[in-house]
């Protein structure tokens, strides 16, 4: 936790304590920790002079943020319109079967988090699955299993 808090100080310094950069700071904290721990938000509130209620409002407003710990590997399935008509619901079924997780859930060993997203802008590949930033278009059941199995 001390590591988290000292990281926060660095991030705040990087944005010169500018309140308007709050969302950017939260994005960096989310990326580093894979979630937004409450003590970290309390420290942000204190250092930036922003009420904690406002920080929680922002943290729960945007999909990119999580107030609960997430897995080391993020698996996202796009459910945007184009992917939807190309079979995204079926892809999601295959992914939930493989991971044994429902969207929004994190595995008990904190290895995987499954999310749904709306439109990544590569619709010609749809339906799209993203694992740790790597895009997979129209993955077969076998490919899904292989990609998941390769995550350490």
């Amino acid at each position: 936790m001390t590591k988290n808090l000292s990281n926060v100080n660095q991030i705040i310094a990087k944005y010169q304590g500018d309140q308007s950069a709050l969302i950017q700071m939260l994005l960096e904290i989310q990326r580093e920790n894979r979630w937004l721990p409450k003590p970290v938000l309390a420290r942000l509130s204190q250092k930036l002079g922003i009420p904690i209620s406002q920080i929680y409002h922002i943290a729960t407003f945007y999909k990119a943020f999580s107030l609960i710990p997430q897995g080391r590997h993020t698996v996202s399935v796009c459910l945007g319109t184009a992917c939807h008509v190309r079979g995204a619901p079926r892809l999601l079924d295959r992914v939930t079967d493989t991971l044994k997780l429902n969207p929004g859930e994190t595995s008990v060993d904190y290895k995987f988090t499954l999310k749904t997203v709306n439109c990544l802008g590569c619709c010609a590949l749809g339906p799209v699955m993203v694992v740790d930033g790597e895009y997979y278009g129209k993955p077969s059941a076998k490919e899904i299993e292989k990609v998941i199995a390769n995550c350490d």
């Binding site: 309390a42 009420p51 904690i52 209620s53 406002q54 929680y56 409002h57 729960t60 407003f61 107030l67 609960i68 429902n102 969207p103 929004g104 859930e105 749904t116």
Partner: protein, 208 residues
């Protein structure tokens, strides 16, 4: 200090003189013209949450519906506060709110506008998200003990115990502002019985 200009507009066929910078709602109230509201409070910045104060503006044969609590007066505006379009909108809004809360304030307005149908499934939140509590705690008390979380249909109001436990017990001024009565009836003064931030986060984990 710059002298505020006078602005002349027509509300319900009556000429009304307002001051520059006033909203239509303020101008109407000043002139004794009734426009219903639920989320408006004269001490707070207008928020436009409930939309009950919707009115119809006409100009050059075209009309549009606007939220009177946030629309600034202009010379020559023609405003109708109870036109058929306005009433239709208010009825739908009230019907939606009734699905969230059976509160007297909403029931009274529903009766006033002749709502008979209840087509929407009840959500049992007893909250119409008017934001009076959140805004009052922020703007007037500057305590920020209570706030919004979530977005869209997931939006809720929660207390933040870090702050609430130190200030709410001796304040509770938001209780009388709450149009649904949720605040006085469902909180111990520090948090809602069944809705903390952690409760809210648990609901976010469930599959869509």
């Amino acid at each position: 200090m710059k002298k505020l200009q006078k602005v002349t507009l027509t509300i319900n066929d009556r000429e009304v003189t307002a001051k520059e910078g006033m909203t239509i709602l303020e101008a109407a109230r000043d002139a004794g013209i009734y426009i219903p509201t639920l989320c408006y409070h004269e001490k707070l910045a207008p928020y436009g949450a409930c939309r009950i104060c919707t009115v119809e503006l006409s100009r050059n044969g075209r009309s549009r519906l606007v939220t009177s609590c946030v629309y600034t007066v202009e010379n020559g505006l023609i405003v109708k506060t109870e036109s058929p379009k306005v009433i239709k909108v208010r009825k739908l809004l009230l019907e939606l709110m009734l699905a969230s809360s059976p509160a007297k304030a909403i029931q009274d307005l529903a009766r006033q506008y002749g709502i008979e149908k209840r087509r929407f499934e009840a959500d049992k939140t007893n909250c119409i998200l008017c934001g009076l509590c959140v805004r009052y705690c922020s703007e007037i008390k500057q305590a920020n003990a209570i706030g919004f979380v979530g977005r869209g249909t997931e939006r809720r109001v929660v207390f933040h115990p870090e702050i609430a436990s130190t200030v709410c017990a001796s304040c509770r001024e938001c209780f009388s502002l709450c149009p649904t009565g949720k605040l006085p009836s469902e909180t111990d003064g520090v948090c809602f019985d069944d809705l903390t931030l952690d409760d809210f986060l648990k609901t976010q984990q469930s599959p869509a």
